[in-house]
Symmetry: C2
Subunit: 280 residues, 2 copies
């Protein structure tokens, strides 16, 4: 048997067990001996914010992050303002749920002007920093795989996310690193610059997510694999992130219809086994 300390950093991102509501997922994590859970806003809304906060608090689990804020670019000012307001709600929810980290999926293109959309992301994050700081929430920019550039996130490399985080932190010297990056291996593993950028992210790594890249890719959105089933050098990434000073939770976030059809408790057991074999 593996001593439980080895999984002390392992966190279930609740999308990995999609059929479970917040309470189910909380209880599942307890049964599996986990210490962390990562939450999604839609799942929290479905179960109710206060109810979610209560069951998580009562479970003793720590919340590694809330997914997601972001989605800043929009074609007109009033829509952009709506997005800002929604990010403020996300920050409130994160605080209520007891996590210190809001993951930002920054948003896709409102029109063909990619550079303008990237500027809207920068400006949007800058606008929510003071409110996030007031509520004790750090903002983690998650670069997404370039295949999501048009419709989900114009921030597509860790280099870009680092640039934004470092610039924003410099622009707000009154706060201590309000912005950082969330590194998900699925999104960044292909990048020839990624290990250099992980080193550069020292001190601003706010989250680390693992899963795997399987082939043929089953689906653009729901195509992630269980650790060990694909092509990513997971341990190498975990060691690089550790070497850059990150010692926080490691979330397993897998969107995959086959895993979603399995009994969720079995998914958690498989996840623990693969985490110890492939990641830790």
């Amino acid at each position: 048997m593996t001593p439980p300390t080895n999984i002390s950093r392992l966190s279930l991102n609740q999308y990995t067990t999609f059929s479970w509501n917040v309470e189910d997922a909380t209880k599942g994590c307890q049964r599996a001996g986990l210490s962390w859970i990562g939450l999604w806003r839609d799942k929290v809304a479905e179960y109710g914010l206060e109810n979610s906060a209560r069951v998580v608090r009562e479970s003793g689990l720590q919340v590694s992050s809330l997914c997601r804020g972001g989605m800043f670019p929009a074609d007109n000012k009033s829509e952009r303002q709506k997005r800002i307001d929604d990010n403020r709600h996300a920050i409130d929810e994160a605080a209520t749920l007891g996590t210190d980290t809001l993951v930002l999926v920054c948003g896709g293109l409102p029109n063909k002007d990619l550079e303008a959309a990237r500027q809207m992301v920068y400006d949007g994050i800058a606008e929510i920093i003071p409110y996030a700081q007031e509520r004790g929430i750090k903002l983690g920019i998650e670069p997404l795989h370039p295949m999501y550039c048009a419709d989900r996130n114009v921030i597509v490399t860790l280099g870009q996310a680092n640039d934004f985080a470092l610039q924003l932190n410099t622009a707000f010297p009154e706060y201590q690193t309000p912005v950082g990056v969330v590194i998900d291996v699925f999104h960044v593993w292909w990048d020839p610059q990624v290990f250099a950028e992980i080193q550069r992210a020292k001190g601003i790594i706010f989250g680390f997510h693992v899963c795997d890249w399987i082939t043929p890719l089953p689906d653009v959105l729901k195509g992630r694999g269980m650790m060990g089933d694909g092509w990513i050098q997971l341990r190498k990434f975990r060691e690089a992130v550790d070497a850059a000073g990150y010692d926080g939770p490691i979330e397993v976030e897998i969107f995959n219809e086959t895993l979603w059809a399995m009994p969720p408790d079995d998914v958690l057991e498989l996840m623990k086994e693969r985490y110890l074999k492939e990641v830790y």
Copy 2:
């Protein structure tokens, strides 16, 4: 009516009209008033190499490129040698077909060691350079979209392709730029560095391909769109490539089941119209 000179650089990559064999495609290009065609090895093999060379020669069309060499990484030496031999065949075929450019799709992962696979690509290209030069063929490294990194091409950015081409050209000072890059907007449009890298590619741009990125992506492999139907700033790319000194053919290469189901002559008309509206 648009004067025909405006489409003087337009080339039909024959995969855009997938149902046509080489002769059909050649005749279709003539009917459409095109001057260029881009060929694929499987289509050429299906119609016969000598027959293909003859119908193309008789048509007066110029062959913009032959797709594809590459596929270098493999788990053992004998398999890697087979790939090298196949590249020599591809070089022979390119010479027979009367093009000066072989497009390299460099190959995916034989195992999880991404760095080793990239080294195998470098070594493989180095090995075929003398033979390619002997036969009058330039080698164009085409970076593919990162979503193909595991199974098709570990070369995923124009920066990487430039690095390889520039290093290889330095390693073979006896030849004049034996290696260059082929830039397909579908593969590189998302890259924050792409316009800097296009400038850096000055003098080694061996091909330029256009299509569009449509959402939702219909399919990982057959998900490309007709120019103007998606999100890419096509004219900006064409102007950047021109500014870097490229004045060669512009291939339209679209893998898309909906377009493949249309009458191919209609696809060519649409392609010309969109090329003039969106690209040129």
